[in-house]
Amino acid sequence: MKGKRLTLTLLFCGILCLVFLAGAPTALAHRLNVFALLEGDCINGEAYFNDGSPAKDSKVLIKNSTGHVLAEGKTNENGQFSLKLSSPPTEAVTVIVEGGVGHRGETTVESPKNGKKLTTTTQVGLEAPEKTTVQDVPSAAIEEIIKNAVKEEMEPIRNELIKMNMELSKPKVTEILGGIGYIVGLFGVAFWVKGRSKNG
């Protein structure tokens, strides 16, 4: 009789568990990692938990150093986000992702300090070879083409960077063993102190 009741209880718990799992939207992890890159006046990036799962539908905020919100958005189902700023940032901006129930991650995106100078020099460079076909194409269009080409070329490297970041953010065996060593040492110290106070 008792065995039967136990089986029934377990079955009930199992079903409940499945129901909740089907509806559980968030991964509960310890750390939310944010990876972001500035591309033109867009900030693109990814947010993922320390076990590698993406932070879906999470609020993304971009703030400047004074805490003023420059842009706001959400991550997609792969944890990726792309937010457009009204103008390319002139200072470092902070990207904050709020994963809900106590999860929050942030990262700082440095702005290219000589960004403005660079664009002017390219424009000068383009104007220099005068009376060539290049002149007929507006420099803005050329810039766009170059940007797209670079973006395409950079894509694998970018993905590789994200992957590396993900790997780096996982706890390593040496750190875990080191932590256990600390615990053993600490409680050894506790023993020592206790023993001294008993003898002295």
Binding site: C13, G14, L16, C17, L18, F20, L21, A22, G23, A24, P25, T26, A27, L28, A29, H30, R31, L32, F49, N50, D51, S53, I96, E98, G100, V101, G102, H103, R104, G105, E106, P171, E175, I176, G178, G179, I180, Y182, I183, V184, L186, F187, A190, F191, K194
Partner: protein
């Protein structure tokens, strides 16, 4: 269930730190020669338990072991959790040093309370597995409620986060209940006096 830096408001952080300090001081005072190694082992188990993620369906879960720690240590669970969470914050950036007090309070206080329930049940019932299982599951739910409460005092809706946290932790509670039940029934067979310290 580590709360990240920058989520909570100052009053919550300060009161969390105060409760954690008081609990840790009391827990250390209660430590004896017999319980120091026990406290160390529990601390190591807490430290490692949350690193092992098990993928269950859509979410990934890990053990908390608060209820088990509460049964084994009582108030001395506070220093055990403090050490484990401090090392996790420093080594893995789980949680953080500013929120350490709140995280320790949430996890340890729920564990201590669940442990008291487990101990009281163990003295009355002759069913160590059941008592351990109840205590283990209670520890997980208690932690979820405490985390939801700390978020609520910082402006998030209590009901929504409590429902989300408890729902997502239901599988953890079941698994942890079973594991705690096994450990407690094993201990009560091998060491009849394990509750006496």
């Amino acid at each position: 269930m580590h709360i990240a830096e920058g989520v909570l408001s100052w009053p919550v952080l300060v009161s969390g730190a105060a409760i954690a300090t008081a609990g840790t001081a009391y827990g250390i005072k209660k430590l004896s020669f017999e319980t120091i190694p026990r406290c160390g082992i529990v601390s190591a188990a807490l430290f490692v338990a949350s690193l092992i993620h098990v993928n269950l369906g859509a979410s990934s879960v890990h053990l908390i072991l608060g209820g088990l720690g509460g049964i084994l240590l009582g108030w001395s669970l506070f220093p055990a959790f403090l050490v484990a969470l401090f090392l996790q914050a420093v080594l893995f950036q789980f949680g953080g040093l500013v929120v350490l007090g709140v995280n320790v309070t949430n996890m340890a206080l729920s564990g201590v309370l669940a442990g008291f329930v487990g101990r009281a049940l163990l003295k009355r019932l002759k069913r160590p597995f059941l008592c351990g299982a109840i205590s283990g599951a209670l520890g997980v739910f208690g932690a979820a409620v405490f985390v939801a409460a700390s978020l609520a005092f910082s402006g998030e809706a209590f009901r929504a986060s409590a429902v989300l946290l408890i729902g997502a932790h239901l599988p953890v509670a079941i698994i942890e209940g079973i594991i705690t039940g096994f450990i407690v029934s094993f201990l009560s067979k091998t060491d009849k006096n394990f509750l006496e310290v």
